[in-house]
């Protein structure tokens, strides 16, 4: 029963790709390798989170670079979550999931970068004197 199900799943995977969140192809030692993958993901995420909090509070690092460093750590941790928890990989059975993700990331970048760019330009082009400009931004 179980084996027939697994066989169907594998056939389907080979032809249609894999569901996001599903483990890679079923194998005999699947249980332990799935556990190992999850645990590696947890360890990496803990290391990255701890580094983020340390970087934000330390005085050892060059201050202007800290924001950029925190951004890089966040992106790395999102990658860890995608690969180790959601099992989104670059494998051929994952093309659909990765393409959808890539489109999502494109829209996110457009929304965030576009908003910040336009709002900064609006502020810079306002012809108010500096002190009134501050008042305007405050409310």
């Amino acid at each position: 029963m179980m084996e027939a199900q697994d066989a169907r799943a594998s056939m389907s995977e080979a032809q249609h790709g894999r569901a996001p969140g599903d483990r890679p192809t079923v194998t005999e030692e699947g249980e332990s390798s799935g556990f190992l993958l999850c645990t590696i993901g947890l360890l990496l995420a803990v290391i990255l989170t701890a580094t983020s909090f340390w970087v934000a509070n330390t005085t050892l690092l060059w201050t202007p670079g800290i924001a950029l460093g925190l951004g890089v750590l966040a992106i790395a941790q999102m990658g860890v979550h995608l690969v180790f928890f959601l099992h989104v990989t670059t494998g051929p059975d994952n093309t659909n999931n990765v393409l959808a993700l890539a489109f999502g990331v494109l829209i996110v970048l457009l929304v965030v970068a576009g908003s910040l760019w336009i709002m900064n330009d609006l502020n810079a082009n306002m012809t108010l004197p500096a002190n009134q400009m501050n008042m305007h931004m405050q409310y």
């Binding site: 084996e3 697994d6 066989a7 799943a9 594998s10 056939m11 389907s12 995977e13 080979a14 032809q15 249609h16 790709g17 569901a19 996001p20 969140g21 599903d22 483990r23 192809t25 079923v26 194998t27 005999e28 699947g30 249980e31 799935g34 556990f35 999850c38 645990t39 993901g41 947890l42 995420a45 803990v46 989170t49 983020s52 909090f53 934000a56 509070n57 800290i66 924001a67 925190l70 951004g71 966040a74 999102m78 979550h81 995608l82 928890f85 659909n96 999931n97 959808a100 993700l101 489109f103 999502g104 829209i107 996110v108 929304v111 965030v112 908003s115 910040l116 931004m137 405050q138 409310y139």
Partner: protein
């Protein structure tokens, strides 16, 4: 001998080509559709993030993030959510191996950690409101409560969903339909953790830097 390995060992020509293979299994279609929904949810969060980034300095002379945010509490919230994401992954493995005790245990730990996260967040909100930093007092605080509150609302919905799923598992056992729903729940819960990574980095860590 593992069937998965056997299928992988077949030459590619032995399998029908995708255009002749018929529709994909329901499990793949459902999970892919839910993945699209999660991505659209992330796009919605990106708009809230953009609004927050634009309004972060518009404090109307009131309290700023540096005065309001407490990093210790955020660190504990982060640890709770990360650990619950891990136990949710373990629950998915238990579902796969039909280990009911494992499912209930992992679901319980996931629920308790998620509830602890939510409790800490609500306590933080209550503390801010008690100090007069209400959502209506400045554009910065409106954006903050919308962004973080929206994530908290997602976690609340996730906790309710988890309870419903455990009721379904105990009554219907793991049918293909229940298994699909559990897979969608796992995707939802992991995605919440991904959004929280953005939140604590950009709001609580970078946001309070001078």
């Amino acid at each position: 001998m593992s069937i998965g390995v056997e299928i992988n060992a077949l030459p590619p020509e032995a399998l029908p080509i995708p255009s002749e293979a018929g529709p994909a299994s329901k499990r793949i279609v459902v999970a892919y559709g839910f993945w699209i929904f999660i991505l659209s949810d992330i796009v919605m969060f990106s708009a809230l993030f953009a609004a927050y980034a634009v309004l972060v300095h518009a404090t109307a002379g009131g309290a700023t993030g540096v005065q309001l945010f407490n990093q210790g509490s955020v660190a504990i919230e982060t640890a709770c959510l990360l650990a619950s994401s891990y136990t949710c992954g373990l629950m998915t493995l238990s579902v796969r191996s039909r280990n009911y005790a494992g499912i209930y245990l992992a679901a319980l730990v996931t629920f308790v950690l998620g509830a602890a996260f939510l409790g800490l967040e609500l306590r933080e909100f209550a503390g801010m409101i008690a100090r007069g930093a209400t959502p209506q007092s400045s554009a910065f605080l409106s954006a903050f409560f919308t962004l973080v509150g929206c994530h908290g609302l997602h976690v609340t919905v996730g906790l309710g969903w988890l309870v419903v799923m455990m009721a379904q598992v105990s009554i219907k056992y793991i049918t293909p339909a229940v298994e699909r729903r559990l897979l969608c729940f796992a995707i939802f819960w992991h995605a919440l953790d991904i959004i929280w990574v953005c939140l604590f980095t950009f709001v609580y860590l970078i946001g309070v830097r001078p």
